[in-house]
Symmetry: C2
Subunit: 361 residues, 2 copies
């Protein structure tokens, strides 16, 4: 078992990574210090892993809320549904909420845990690559608003993240590819060696080779844990983790969270951020091409047919990265070197959107 | 102008208290470091004070959400309404939410501010006695659930509390009496001198004498600021501020937040806590009688006709103070000396409820 720590003083917590730990006696049991546990999962994941989880958490009182699968269900209405179940079962402030699933389940369950009785214990059991490398770590919780991605939420750190890499054996290929977008992101932000490793080993990852997946999960968690430990509330450095996300969030919101997996939108967003970085003169054409090629080799599209440039810009303007009316963007100075700026030519942004969005290619 | 500080490190903030400061040039202006401000108020308060507030905050962009008045409207649905307005107006993370009103408006607006973009600036402008002495200070925000009071919420400290005591001149007598319940509470918890002062000066307070009101607002804020500064997240001492509240919350929930003002329910709860303390042998009969008499002199009832003992007990069991299935209560060892316990005879609780609740008296 691989253990990492997110160092946040009294709110520090472990990330446990291994194949099969979900059903291994004692592991999960040791992380959930509560008698009453509400499990939040979805209709895809619950049939696969809720039985093993239930055994692992005996003899606690377990109640489950099973949501429909998909980003479109990450809503305040479903948070209210989780809260209703907590109240109906008379769960006290000493209960725990456990998320069993991907990023949608984790973000939503985490916000419910943050809001119930002003905050109860929260445990993440991510079952998708995207959640294991990114969304389950760091304490960002929340739901979407029709007007924008993750506009409603809270910072609420989990008490533990338990990542069973064996769950990736049941992960659909589309979800695996979406998760790879966030891994590519880590390489681009601060780890050129990881990016080169991905270029060399992408086929093994796409084939689901356990050793390759374990490597990128560990490395991604190391990077994220370190950044979150230095900047929990995104006052500075943590914002770099949003590389590709302002574009991606706009794409998700513009399609009503129905068409794109979050990771797919981030994949397209990475290509746009690289192209924009090149258009601004920060990134070489060769490096921008490397980004686009790796994203495309991961099976992710870099051109958006169904949303035009004007709609993209409209949705980017309500993103959380807007400050003083300016859309701040994370751009690249090179592979492994990201920075944030709101000082760029509007023409470069328009050119980038025109090249990547809309019917004609 | 009287200024107090709530000392919470980087989240410290001032409480400004004076008659007429709402319209005094520069005062509010200096506290709201945002270009875009969403004012949350209600249909009673907005016509009285929103015009002056709007002038004080020029030239900021002001948008107002005016909610119906009353505890029954402190709901997640109304938080969603506030969030919709924030999104619709494209307010960024650098906006501020300002609560203009009593405890309902402050709690609800505060939770919206806590949840929008994972937390934006929040400013309290309390216009009721209860909000000025209690709910506007300390960062507890939230809304009610049909199953229980304040079950959904967050800790989110304001950037400032601006208490214009002149607003109390338009406060209905019923609201003034409700606010006095929380002032009596402070005396009972830790300040026997304040309690004795209230016994001596209650008539001046009920008559709305400005000097008397200013005195109790300052003293109440001093006590609360000190306790919150030592125990922001209610790990210990802060729980004493819930004296009378477990009874009171049950009363509010059992009547669907329609019949009782929060302070009225707390008034009845204080009498029940004192009676319970006497039934457990902690408090003398004379002191229990002093409590009941002061509450009744304040114009608050201490006997609840419309809710029976069984319904009260049922609702107390979902209160946030429940731990390990036991209802923890704040009790009194004397006037000015409160403590928390879950170790009391159930018979004493039943006897107390039977004596104070239900049709027969």
């Amino acid at each position: 078992m691989h253990t990492l720590n997110v160092e946040l003083g009294t709110r520090s917590y472990p990330i446990l990574i291994d194949a099969g730990i979900l059903g291994r006696p004692g592991v999960l049991d040791a992380q959930v210090a509560a008698r009453d546990v509400l499990v939040v999962s979805n209709t895809t994941v619950a049939p696969l892993y809720l039985p093993a989880l239930s055994v692992a958490l005996r003899p606690r009182r377990l109640v489950a809320v099973i949501l429909p699968d998909g980003e479109a269900h990450k809503t305040l209405a479903n948070v209210a549904r989780v809260l209703d179940v907590l109240v109906a079962n008379r769960f006290g402030r000493d209960c725990a909420v456990l998320a069993l699933g991907g990023g949608v389940v984790g973000d939503l369950a985490g916000f419910a845990a943050a809001s119930y009785q002003r905050g109860v214990m929260f445990v993440q059991v991510p079952t998708t690559l995207l959640a294991q490398v990114d969304s389950a770590v760091g304490g960002k919780t929340g739901v979407n608003h029709p007007g924008g991605k993750n506009l409603i939420g809270a910072f609420h750190q989990p008490a533990a993240v338990v990542s069973d890499t064996h769950t990736l054996t049941t992960l659909p290929a589309r979800e695996l590819r979406a998760g790879l977008a966030e891994v590519i992101k880590y390489g681009l932000i601060c780890d050129a060696a990881l990016f080169a490793w991905l270029e060399a080993h992408l086929d093994a990852l796409l084939a689901g080779e356990p050793a390759a997946l374990a490597h990128v999960i560990r490395r991604s968690c190391e990077i994220k844990a370190a950044i979150v430990g230095r900047d929990e509330r995104e006052q500075g450095e943590r914002a770099l983790l949003n590389l590709g996300h302002t574009f991606g969030h706009a794409l998700e919101a513009a399609t009503a969270y129905q068409e794109w997996l979050h990771g797919e939108a981030v994949g397209a967003g990475l290509a746009m951020a690289a192209a924009m970085s090149h258009a601004c003169g920060y990134l070489s054409a060769a490096d921008a091409a490397r980004v686009r090629q790796l994203v495309e080799r991961a099976g992710l599209v870099t051109h958006v047919a169904s949303v035009g440039p004007a709609a993209m810009l409209e949705h980017m303007r309500i993103d959380k990265k807007v400050q003083g009316g300016r859309v701040r963007l994370v751009l690249l100075r090179g592979v492994g070197s990201a920075f944030m700026t709101d000082d760029y030519p509007q023409a470069a942004l328009q050119e980038t959107l025109a090249a990547h969005c809309g019917g004609a290619r």
